[in-house]
Amino acid sequence: MTSETRKLPGQARKGIDGAVNSIASLADIVLEPLQRRFGVQKMAYFFVLPNLIIFGIFILLPMILNFYYAFTAGIHLLPQDRPFVGAQNFQTLFACTNFANPNTCNQDIFWRAVWNTISFVFFQVIGMIGFSLITALALNRRIRARGFFRSVFFYPVLLSPVVIGLIWKWILQRDGVLNSIVVALGGSQLPFLLNADWARAWITLISIWAQMGFFTLILLAGLQAIPSELYEAGQIDGANSWSSFRFITLPMLAPTMLVVTVLVIIRAVQVFDQPFVLTGGGPGTATVYMVQYIYSTGFDPTTPQYGLAAAASIVLGAALLILTLVQLRLGRATEL
């Protein structure tokens, strides 16, 4: 009986393996003649081809088409129906008497989105680096249940932004649990999602909550790569814990910190789904960010403005390109 049950999974597995392998060897019926005809080295093209086809159609081609859209106008999606308008879309985007005051701009929501994104990036980066670093330092100590704590901080990274948005919407709503704590402490219910400043603050905090585990892991790996001999040598020289942090940990961690910082910025610039679910951009336009502007301009159900959306996405792409170049430049500088 026991031997029977023990055998079955093995047999089943062998069966699946066999099936997959016979399908795989079927491919050879076509591929072997090809190989004989073109030679071993040319087979490389066959291996690269499927990837290149998908990549070309869905990434490369859209990249080129994006410029076409940015310089054409109208509500039609098909390229042949779109009249060429030169730089008009960019002129519309940049029609502004004072860039710092979105009310003076033709596309006021775009400039609100730009400023919202800039302030989001600024505060999020500070918070993200701060909390990730403290957590990584704590997890790098010789403590109990280190694996458990590491998992706890990492877990939200795996959750869908929609799930995260809903969890926090439930907590932050007017009659939510956080407001009940506020009331229990003697305050009155706060408009967490209905006041512009509160909403912005919460979106920043939640994005830190959701992603810090990822950056903590990278920083932790950086901390663990610092050779312990350095600390031992420091101890012999009479360094206390602050000075060994200041003169050993920080300088040794600097390259990792730099990579993490740029990574945080590049991701923060593209913020979209979690605020989209949590506030939908509100109250008013307080939490509309650049990607949401692109999405709602280009995919408006009644009058989609593909040209304007494409122009805005080129502005976003340019910002990302500059940030990446800075990263490469800094990366090279630290390597020296």
Partner: protein, 350 residues
């Protein structure tokens, strides 16, 4: 108590338990509450009945009011604790309520009723994990359909991602051919072009291919991920070429070498990519949001999002569905936790 403190106070090596350790545990403890609290709160709330959910202030654990069937009454009646005029407290069912007067009936003696002021009655509450939200949600929310779509997208996209990217990585790491470096640089440089930047033209391409409102439109385009090619290529570079040469001498075709030598040897890198791919596809939002507009094709995140817009107050069902959506990824994490965290720390990907 002292043993607990003694246990926590023990440290590795000869170090004494210092103030910094206390601070560390304090920070990590508070951190644990902040990281897990919201998720725990979601799970607790998902077991509450509609009337419990709108209660302010809310209770931590889900409670519900039990009801009993009393002979002579059509519907089950809710149970209350009644403070009778003589001061005794008795559990009775509410038969009818007119204004401030409640007619209570003793379930044990259904023929006698007592009229009391509603101030004298208080609902009986027992802790109960109510699965009602789940059963109702699964029925009303078409959870099965969305789950099937999400599983199909995640499964087939991951298979395709592994196949297409490992083939490309094999071609780019084990052969010399004209344009090899150009192709590699081209693929990797698009790491910088995230989806939001090409949103509009991607929509055109999908429409032209005819994959609008087709799960293929979610599965195929994102399968040629530059991250995957990069990760697998770097790994395959470490596989010695001599292995391939001796296989060739034995008469193995290139496809056989890929299938029977390279793939088994690259299993660790493939596993990391598989986990990432499952994570990406299961949580994917913006791409399916653009491609799918028919309800019956929605994946779970899209469905959850549309549900919150449609019925802003239907939190009971929504919370239960949110829990069901985060469950699979949580189970995967619970089993592969060590593997995932080391995978990320070494590759620096997400």
């Amino acid at each position: 108590m002292t043993t607990v403190l003694g246990f926590l106070g023990r440290t590795q090596g000869k170090r004494r338990f210092a103030g910094v350790d206390l601070l560390t545990y304090l920070y990590l403890g508070i951190g644990t509450i902040i990281m897990f609290g919201p998720i725990l709160w979601l799970i607790m709330s998902s077991f509450k009945s509609q009337s419990e959910l709108v209660k302010f202030p809310p209770t931590l654990l889900p409670y519900s009011q039990p009801s009993v069937t009393v002979p002579g009454y059509d519907k089950p009646l809710d149970l209350y604790n009644v403070t009778l005029d003589d001061g005794t407290v008795k559990q009775m069912a509410l038969a009818a309520r007119v204004g401030l007067e409640a007619t209570m009936v003793d379930p044990a003696a259904p023929t006698t009723t007592v009229k009391v002021n509603i101030k004298q009655i208080q609902s009986v509450e027992v802790m109960s994990f109510n699965l009602d939200n789940y059963t109702r949600g699964v029925a009303a929310f078409d959870f099965g359909v969305y789950l099937r779509n999400s599983v199909a997208v995640t499964f087939f996209a991951t298979i395709l991602t592994l196949l297409v990217n490992s083939m490309a990585a094999f071609g780019l790491s084990k052969y010399r051919f004209a344009g090899r470096n150009a192709i590699f640089v081209l693929i990797v440089s698009t790491l910088l072009i995230p989806l939001p930047v090409i949103l509009v033209p991607v929509f055109l391409v999908i429409t032209q291919v005819g994959w609008n409102n087709n799960l293929l439109g979610v599965i195929v385009p994102a399968s040629a991920t530059p991250t995957g090619v990069f990760l697998l290529r770097q790994y395959m570079l470490t596989i010695p070429d001599e292995l391939l040469d001796s296989a060739r001498i034995d008469g193995a075709s290139e496809w056989r070498i890929y299938w029977q030598i390279i793939l088994p040897l690259a299993t660790p890198a493939l596993a990391v990519l598989a986990i990432f791919s499952v994570m990406w596809r299961w949580n994917d939002f913006l791409w399916p949001l653009i491609v799918l507009s028919h309800k019956e094709l929605f994946t779970l995140p899209i469905a959850l999002n549309s549900f919150q817009g449609q019925f802003d107050t239907q939190w009971d069902v929504l919370l239960a569905m949110t829990v069901l959506t985060l469950l699979p990824i949580t189970v995967v994490f619970a089993f592969l936790q060590r593997f995932i965290t080391t995978g990320i720390a070494t590759t620096g990907l997400k």
